[in-house]
């Protein structure tokens, strides 16, 4: 999921990405995952191409893709913020954190900022409950957050235009 965010790399065409998989429905989810890793989301065109490849109606593919939380149908921002909404994070105030984040970025959950820099999501549980409240940004984990720490992080990323390693 991290590969396409390393901006400069050449995006492979969809048929090249999926060619290594056997033409069987069993591999549908893996195919969708790999296409999303390449493009950041599943476009209508890529779903149609997968449909041709697997000889499966695109409605079925759409049905599978919308069932799972992981798949996105719209292009996400360059910095994807996922706030954890697990139990431990909830008890430690992740709802307030989410509110602060919405205010800071000026977008709602599931949206992308106009400049395409940030997108905001929630995730059921990151499994980092011991360092709650936590969030994941472009595959990196951040824990023990509060409003101030979040403000600082968002400001740095906004200024740099990317997430530092």
């Amino acid at each position: 999921m991290e590969s396409y965010m390393e901006t400069k790399h050449q995006v492979r065409p969809v048929d090249e990405v999926i060619a290594k998989y056997p033409k069987s429905r069993e591999h549908l989810i893996s195919i969708l995952q790999e296409v999303q890793a390449e493009y950041g989301y599943l476009s209508r065109d890529s779903i149609n191409m997968i449909s041709d490849y697997l000889a499966l109606p695109s409605s079925k593919i759409f049905g599978v893709a919308t069932f799972y939380n992981q798949f996105k149908m719209n292009a996400p921002g360059r910095i994807q913020v996922s706030i954890c909404r697990g139990t431990a994070c909830h008890v430690k105030g992740s709802l307030n954190l989410l509110d602060s984040c919405r205010q800071l970025l000026g977008i709602e959950v599931g949206q992308t900022t106009k400049d395409g820099l940030f997108s905001l999501e929630t995730v059921a549980c990151l499994g980092c409950c011991s360092i709650a409240p936590a969030m994941m940004v472009n595959g990196q984990f951040f824990g023990r957050l509060d409003k101030k720490k979040l403000e600082y992080l968002v400001d740095t990323w906004r200024a740099a235009g990317r997430v530092e390693e």
């Binding site: 069993e26 995952q33 549980c125 499994g127």
Partner: protein
């Protein structure tokens, strides 16, 4: 050459273990010393992460917690150059066979570890999970080799004798499940390891996969041999990138060592692959999981037929949880008695819990079955931070229940937890203090369930939605329901809340739906007063339900500094400079910013 161990599980990395590793490398380069850095998994004491262990010149391994990049160099200076191990953040030394260092406590004696029994977690945070040699040095694959020398029936008997029950939540006897699969004459069988740990508030499986990858794979191979399967699949959540990476590496190593995809022992041929989940909670249910592996929407189907008879691609399949699989490798190596000696009459062995929430020592704990909850929360967990009062502990995630203070002395085993309306579940233990609102908690779990319900059966799809709406109306201000009719409707719904919960429980298709109302039922059972305060007094005693809060500024304490008015995101605070300010209730969104910024504690909430 000195060995340095750094806990680099997800929790370690998130708290800066990566920077600590860089600091150690820099330190070594500056002094032209050679150190061997080993990335271990999580030892469980996540609260003290990043954790760094330093092995002294004479082979003693000493562990330090809360290591920052700045402190790392200092610790290395002291331990390796000045030979002084007594430093701040010292957790203790490991037992290594030699006489222990004088004056340094053993790590087993640390309050967090003292009451724990490490059976399945023994290697987590101790060995290098990416090194098969390290795993072998700690007894790895001995159990598998022993199994290969036995007949299939004998292996299953050994597992049955140990009394191991499924650690994923249901508590079905593992050996019994395997027996059913062995009895099937089908030539093609599957072993699935369920690593789709979707319970919010649980991370046992992640830690085991990250910290002791080979143990899980060994368990799967043993299971494969026992039931006569030739293919194993690990279904792992995509949210666990590190675990996935380590499993992939481990499978490659096993292939190159000839343990996979080549006949071993009495002609046993097994292949393993990993399948990434795509973020659906219901896929933790075994029939839904299999649908997902087949590339379909992860929807459960009615049982029977049970997966042991007709599972993945209509072939006999066993589905076991990560912790179960890891336990199998240790049971096969050390014999059934090593496991069955621990625990209670009907619940043998140990259980790993993810202890989190409002507790001092958050982390991963492994305790023998039969220990009381009080010991886990107060002795191991160290109690509630900030001197606050304990309110409840939530066990079993969205399918479980809340256990209040009066039942804290209950023993941990499958049956007694059921008697208080909770379940063992996969092992999430979330501690709550007086500042947690139980109605809000129930509402939180229901909102989770409504978004995760697969939509196949009506009681779960519609029922949980209605139940959520009822709870929502309980915590919402009157202003949201202006006319009388709606208020009556709301009252009517509240009256029917319990019976609705019961219907969902009785009529849902799968375990997710059947247990969905549990958070509501259990909080209603033990915290009815809190519901009543919300419904009759329109007050949230814990000050958590935003809709029921009002922020007011104390006219005497306010100095008119205008800070709150400036910071208020909705400009709901009015007032002139150096004069008392007021909050306009209609505009207030209850974000609490004014209370945070006020330097005179003039803002109060009610």
């Amino acid at each position: 050459m000195n060995r340095i161990f750094i806990g680099m599980g997800t929790c370690g990395l998130a708290t800066g273990a990566g920077q600590v590793k860089a600091a150690v490398e820099k330190w070594a380069a500056a002094r032209d010393m050679k150190v061997q850095i080993t990335r271990t998994g999580c030892i469980g004491y996540c609260n003290a992460e990043p954790i760094m262990d330093v092995v002294t010149d004479d082979g003693h391994r000493v562990s330090y917690g809360n290591v920052t990049p700045e402190v790392a160099g200092f610790i290395l200076d002291e331990v390796l150059v000045r030979k002084n191990c007594k430093l701040d953040g010292l957790l203790g030394q490991f037992v290594n066979g030699a006489a222990p260092l004088a004056g340094i406590p053993l790590i087993e004696e640390h309050p967090f570890f003292k009451k724990q029994v490490k059976y399945v977690l023994r290697n987590c945070g101790v060995i290098d999970p990416e090194s098969i040699a390290d795993y072998r040095a700690h007894g790895g694959f001995k159990g598998f080799e022993r199994a290969l020398g036995m007949s299939q029936g004998e292996v299953i008997q050994e597992v049955t004798r140990s009394g191991l029950r499924g650690r994923g939540g249901s508590g079905f006897l593992t050996g019994r499940k395997w027996e059913l699969a062995l009895a099937s004459r089908n030539a093609k069988k599957y072993v699935i390891c369920n690593a789709d740990e979707g319970d919010p508030g649980a991370f046992m499986d992640r830690s085991i996969l990250e910290g002791d990858t080979y143990a899980v794979l060994e368990g799967m191979m043993t299971a494969g041999y026992a039931i006569g399967a030739d293919e194993g699949i690990i279904y792992c959540r995509a949210e666990y990138p590190l675990a996935i990476e380590r499993i992939k590496k481990a499978i490659d190593v096993l292939k190159s060592e000839g343990l996979l995809e080549k006949p071993v022992g009495p002609g046993f041929l097994f292949k393993l692959r990993i399948k990434m989940g795509a973020g659906a909670f219901v896929c933790g249910e075994e029939t839904a999981l299999m649908a997902s592996v087949e590339g379909r929407r992860g929807m459960p189907r009615p049982r029977p037929p049970f997966p042991s008879v007709e599972g993945l691609f209509q072939k006999p399949t066993i589905v076991n949880n990560v912790e179960t699989m890891a336990n199998v490798s240790h049971i096969m190596r050390e014999g059934a008695e090593s496991f069955s000696a621990m625990g209670t009459q009907n619940s043998k062995g140990t259980k790993v819990f993810a202890l989190t929430g409002k507790v001092v020592n958050a982390g991963l704990v492994e305790v023998p079955m039969g220990m009381t909850l009080r010991e886990v929360v107060f002795d191991i967990g160290g109690g509630i931070p900030g001197g606050k009062a304990f309110k409840a502990v939530q066990i079993g995630g969205p399918s479980g229940g809340c256990i209040p203070a009066e039942h804290l002395d209950i023993t941990i085993d499958y049956e007694s937890l059921k008697s208080v309306g909770a379940i063992m579940g996969s092992g999430g233990l979330v501690v709550m203090d007086e500042e947690t609102c139980m109605v809000d908690m129930a509402r939180y779990f229901l909102s989770f369930i409504t978004s995760e319900s697969c939509g196949k059966c009506i009681p779960c799809r519609e029922g949980t939605q209605r139940l959520f709406e009822i709870l929502d109306s309980i915590v919402s201000p009157y202003a949201k329901m202006p006319d009388e009719e709606e208020n009556l409707l709301r009252f009517n719904r509240v009256l029917n809340m319990e019976s609705l919960a019961q219907v969902i429980k009785d009529t849902s298709l799968c375990g997710l739906g059947q247990s969905a109302p549990n958070p509501v039922l259990s909080t209603l059972r033990f915290f009815r007063k809190e519901y009543e305060a919300h419904i009759y007094d329109r007050k949230c005693p814990a000050h958590q339900c935003k809709g029921l809060l009002t922020y007011t500024i104390d006219t005497n304490a306010c100095t008119g500094c205008t800070l709150c008015a400036k910071k208020c995101p909705t400009s709901a605070i009015v007032g002139e400079k150096k004069k008392t300010h007021y909050i306009v209730d209609e505009k207030c969104i209850r974000c609490g910013t004014c209370q945070d910024v006020c330097r005179f504690s003039a803002v109060s909430v009610n």
